[in-house]
């Protein structure tokens, strides 16, 4: 694994506009950075990252199966009581999942370590699936990437195949907070994949979901029987419509049982159930009296996004941290991982699972030790 400079395409702006990538520089700050590239060997991809993702995917299924009927564990994860049955039923029914992303710290030498598990609403998908693939294709074509270069990336095909497998033939609704450009772009991409898989689709703002006292409808009065929502479960559950009987009349993607894995408490439960697993870091609930002390740790809210309210603590005190609005539900402490440094930045590798198969990777890097929504996306290749 290495990072090296790469010549940016002079016509990148045209390319981004042509393929509908609208958030390359949100707020004027660079997000997509093709002035550098990460290079991996096939062995690193196949025998370290892909295997780690597969293994943790299996472990996470086992964890849900243990937790979903365990009231003590559900309480530990701060999942509200009023949705326990909804979650349990969705697991028993085998409600399908579309995708998820494991974020690894990895230096190319030691086993990848799971830093975060984005089980419910992962983003950076379009840039992982399409933008960096086109960068690879054009790079080979234009000669700035070697002819045999490859990429850990079958996301696009697998997403379409997964939609086909989920199937059903009914109208499929897509909802997010439309005011956010990145969310809107990610949703549009997933909607496009679903349409390529044969679905009729309709996207709407989450606030445009209507309720008639019995079930959910879109503003055109079409029943919402299947809904992909890029809107976290913990917010759904807290919203007033999340308490209505209509929650049982819609099939959601991601399904309700995914909230067990999107809670950062799952990192502590994974460690408890698979202690010393080579791809896990020691992690404990902060208020667990039996937890051994960690000298250096990341303090993470049970529910938070994009690095908000995460603090890194060492023996000499708080090393760094991020502000935010999260943390009311409690915290976990995860042993700090020594992120590798390349040219002054720290990469985090987001490995995607679509359905049940490893499907690709996106690399984000940051000069700070906490990856946030301002961290840059850098394309990768296998060479």
């Amino acid at each position: 694994m290495r990072r090296e400079p790469s010549p940016p395409r002079p016509d990148f702006a045209d390319e981004a506009a042509a393929i509908g990538f609208t958030f390359a520089s949100p707020g004027g700050e660079t997000y997509w950075n093709e002035g550098a590239r990460c290079v991996f060997s096939l062995d690193e991809i196949e025998n370290s990252l892909e295997i780690a993702a597969k293994e943790l995917h299996a472990l996470s299924f086992d964890l849900v199966d243990r937790v979903v009927g365990d009231e003590e564990a559900l309480t530990r994860l701060a999942i509200p009581r009023h949705v326990w049955d909804l979650i349990y039923e969705s697991w028993l029914r085998g409600d399908p999942s579309l995708y998820r992303r494991f974020d690894f710290g990895y230096d190319g030498k030691k086993p990848p370590k799971l830093l975060e598990y984005n089980a419910d609403t992962p983003t950076s998908l379009y840039e992982s699936a399409v933008l960096q693939w086109r960068w690879l294709e054009q790079g080979i074509e234009r000669g700035f990437l070697p002819k045999g270069a490859d990429q850990f990336n079958s996301l696009h095909e697998r997403l379409i195949d997964r939609w086909r497998a989920i199937g059903g033939g009914e109208l499929l609704h897509f909802a997010c907070l439309m005011r956010d450009e990145e969310d809107r772009g990610t949703l549009a991409y997933l909607e496009d994949c679903a349409r390529q898989a044969g679905f009729e689709t309709q996207s709407l703002d989450v606030a445009a979901i209507g309720f008639d006292g019995s079930q959910f409808y879109d503003p055109n009065r079409r029943a919402i029987r299947r809904l992909f929502k890029l809107y976290p479960w913990e917010w759904m559950f807290a919203d007033e419509f999340g308490r209505t009987p209509a929650m049982r009349k819609t099939l959601f993607l991601e399904p309700p049982w995914k909230v067990i894995l999107s809670c950062k408490g799952a990192l502590a439960l994974l460690w408890k159930h698979a202690p010393n697993h080579p791809n896990l870091l020691p992690c404990y609930f902060e208020d667990d009296p039996s937890a051994p002390p960690l000298a250096c740790y990341a303090r993470k809210p049970l529910y938070s996004r994009e690095g908000a309210n995460i603090e890194l603590v060492t023996g000499s005190g708080r090393l760094t941290g991020r502000d935010g609005h999260y943390g009311a539900e409690g915290f976990v402490r995860q042993q700090m991982f020594d992120l590798p440094t390349f040219d002054g930045v720290h990469p985090v590798l987001g490995c995607w699972i679509v359905g049940d198969a490893p499907a690709g990777m996106g690399v984000r890097e940051d000069p700070g030790l906490i990856t946030t929504n301002r961290s840059q996306f850098v394309p990768h290749m296998i060479a």
Binding site: A18, I19, L42, E46, R81, H82, D85, Y88, D103, A119, D120, T121, T123, D150, H156, E157, A175, C176, L177, M178, R179, D180, D183, R184, T186, A188, Y189, E191, T201, Q202, S203, L204, D205, V206, A207, A208, G210, F211, D212, G213, S214, Q215, Y217, Y231, W235, M236, A238, D239, E240, F241, G242, R243, T244, P245, R248, S262, R305, A308, H325, Y326
Partner: protein, 118 residues
């Protein structure tokens, strides 16, 4: 062909020029919820439910389980239909679809940022 290509196959159907196929227009709530953080607004159904709970001295609107347990007249209320027991007692549901006007803005209140990411 590399090992990776052999395992994953060749790519297909990547968005071509124009990228995303044009979907139907995005729907917004009639009163504009979602353009900005939505104001807190209680649907009539919730208002009825809250009023009903207050009147009956129940303590926790969030628990359909409690609703069912508190209703010995409805022994058929199993975990799968707690919510219907709740509906029948406090006024949610039970009407033919389409018979009532729609309430909007019941999702989006709890957002603390953008919904994507992890």
């Amino acid at each position: 062909m590399s090992e990776h290509e052999r395992v994953f196959g060749v790519r297909q159907q990547l968005p071509k020029s124009g990228a995303l196929s044009p979907p139907p227009p995005i729907l917004h709530a009639p009163d504009g919820f979602g353009d900005d953080p939505p104001p807190r607004k209680r649907s009539w159904a919730v208002s009825v439910g809250v009023a009903g709970l207050l009147l009956l001295g129940a303590h926790e609107i969030s628990s359909w389980r409690r609703c069912a347990q508190a209703d010995p007249a409805r022994p058929e209320a199993t975990p799968a239909n707690y919510c219907y027991a709740y509906s029948a007692r406090y006024g949610w549901g039970g009407s033919p679809a389409g018979a009532r006007s729609l309430s909007f803005g019941g999702f989006g209140h709890a957002a603390l940022g953008h919904g994507g990411g992890g």
